[in-house]
Symmetry: C2
Subunit: 336 residues, 2 copies
Amino acid sequence: MSKRTSLKDIADKVGVSTALVSYVINGQEKEKRVGKEVVKKIRTAALELNYQPNQIARSLRKGSTKTIGLIVADIANPFFGNLARVIEDEASRLGYTVIFGSSDEDSGKMESLVDILINRQVDGFIIVPAEGTELQIKALQEKKIPLVLTDRYFIDVTTNYVALDNYGASFDAITHLIANGYKKIGMIAYKSNLIHMQERVRGYIEAMKANNLENEIRLEEVRYNYTMIDNEKAMNNLAIGEKKIDAILFATNSLTVSGLYCIKKLNLKIPEDLAIIGFDGNEAFDFFYTPLTYIEQPIEEMGKEAVGMLVEQIDGSTKIAHIKLRHTLIKRQSSL
Amino acid sequence: MSKRTSLKDIADKVGVSTALVSYVINGQEKEKRVGKEVVKKIRTAALELNYQPNQIARSLRKGSTKTIGLIVADIANPFFGNLARVIEDEASRLGYTVIFGSSDEDSGKMESLVDILINRQVDGFIIVPAEGTELQIKALQEKKIPLVLTDRYFIDVTTNYVALDNYGASFDAITHLIANGYKKIGMIAYKSNLIHMQERVRGYIEAMKANNLENEIRLEEVRYNYTMIDNEKAMNNLAIGEKKIDAILFATNSLTVSGLYCIKKLNLKIPEDLAIIGFDGNEAFDFFYTPLTYIEQPIEEMGKEAVGMLVEQIDGSTKIAHIKLRHTLIKRQSSL
DNA sequence: TTTGAATGTTTAATCGATTAAGCTTAATTT
DNA sequence: AAATTAAGCTTAATCGATTAAACATTCAAA
């Protein structure tokens, strides 16, 4: 790497101290009363030498890196990819750069990601926390590192967060199914204590109860690392045989997609044999032979809010905000 | 942010100089002959104080940040999301962290991303270059910043790159269509001078010529920012009316998806009215009423190779490698 | 006994930018 | 003329870790 130009190079060229150069570069020539001639010379020299300030040095000195650490479950998952994109744009608008990592819903991986990003002195974190990471989050808070949780949060750890009103979303979806005449409604969710999953399940159960269908409740839980296998079992349990149901709500995008593969395999007619509602948008939902009804999340709002809240924290605010966003139920043929 | 523990804190606690602490922390106690007792004390103190080295300070001193800058067209696009994921994992395996940005295929955005990442002193770049960014790439080379291009590259700029053998992929797809009896084969591509697009088109044209079908060549070019509109026009031109074709090759994932929307709208029967072949995998391809034949890219290999090549460069290698990877043609009903 | 190694440790410069404090002149006020 | 103020600039410490070089002590060889 050929030597980059530093403040010193400019200072030498113009024949002044680095202090003056720094003032001019940072637009403080007025406050610091730098001579007009000198300002011009410095500006010219900076351009000629194509000076770019070294952010690392600046960060070390200032104790702030203008960097946000983003931890999601998996950047390859379209939901998180889209979220990451929104966060990137919003962060960049506010002068921040994003470093990311995927936790794979694994608390160990998440811990090492957090450590790595702390060592890189990120100014704050946006985290989609994995199961069992309460203590990690608490530790971050004790270190007074700005932090916003997204998608999920912990009831017993008071943090900033932006999440969907998951309870309301499920409730709405189930209510919609019931309104369309379905009664034997099942749900396939991930086996997880995370609040977003619990709330989605709770919305299902409460909606069933509210319609006196508590006896029809059929919840199947799938392990994250065995999505396909467990989902297939679950679908067999629910959609086949004597006690088969007539509608299903899937709790996430990936569960919906893997569910669709099962449905194809089982050769089920949608919505005649089984009505379905999915979670999050996905191009696949549009091209399934019966277009899918699904719960749409306001990803853009979620990402923007998260960045906004985080930057407020970084700028010194200590207020804690809990934001719950509303879903949109996109109604199509799969639930008619 | 409560004060983090620094080398100095440990040094003070143990009663030695920071030098010794640094040696021990970096596992150089043998070479630097640090006393056994002292080593123990330092280790203990480091644990007690939960010492985490400040990477910023280390980076400034060492002139290396152990950071890779990744620039893709759009992280929300599944192809790039998957690529990013592979790159993240491989980078992390080698001790690197990834900073990313999306260029939106815009040379201006790409330039500012590159500048920002340079100022953050990334050790090297993995770039999916936008159209018209040859000079930016050349500038990076002149600054001797390690660099690997992916997905595309420039003929007149000699750089490391990893890309698909796009010519071969198109050629193969067209050959497959012809083997299945299709003759009036069209192609929808992006209007772009980028090599990957040019090669995909060239593969199409050469395959047609090789089969004495040069008179049937029907190429439609779509503008990136008007994918939907232009694609719809293109589809109307190709698939409707007197001179309609009987098969189409789409040049990218996004073109394929938007093409599927058109096909749905036009109510075409696949493959009876029109055979189609898409680019890259996509869950939507599996659920389209006729499962799609598509050209699969070896994303994992691509990402791993890119990181591997980049780290070699960072470690001082100056050899230039051009890697072309082979596709896999996933044959299904849409091209029967 | 002297010289030379070997061992163990400290000192201080360095990376590049920031910034409080101090130092010159010149200009203005009393 | 002396004192004050302003204008314009430099000095040097600082952020935290790294590392070449110097220093000090002990031990062994000549």
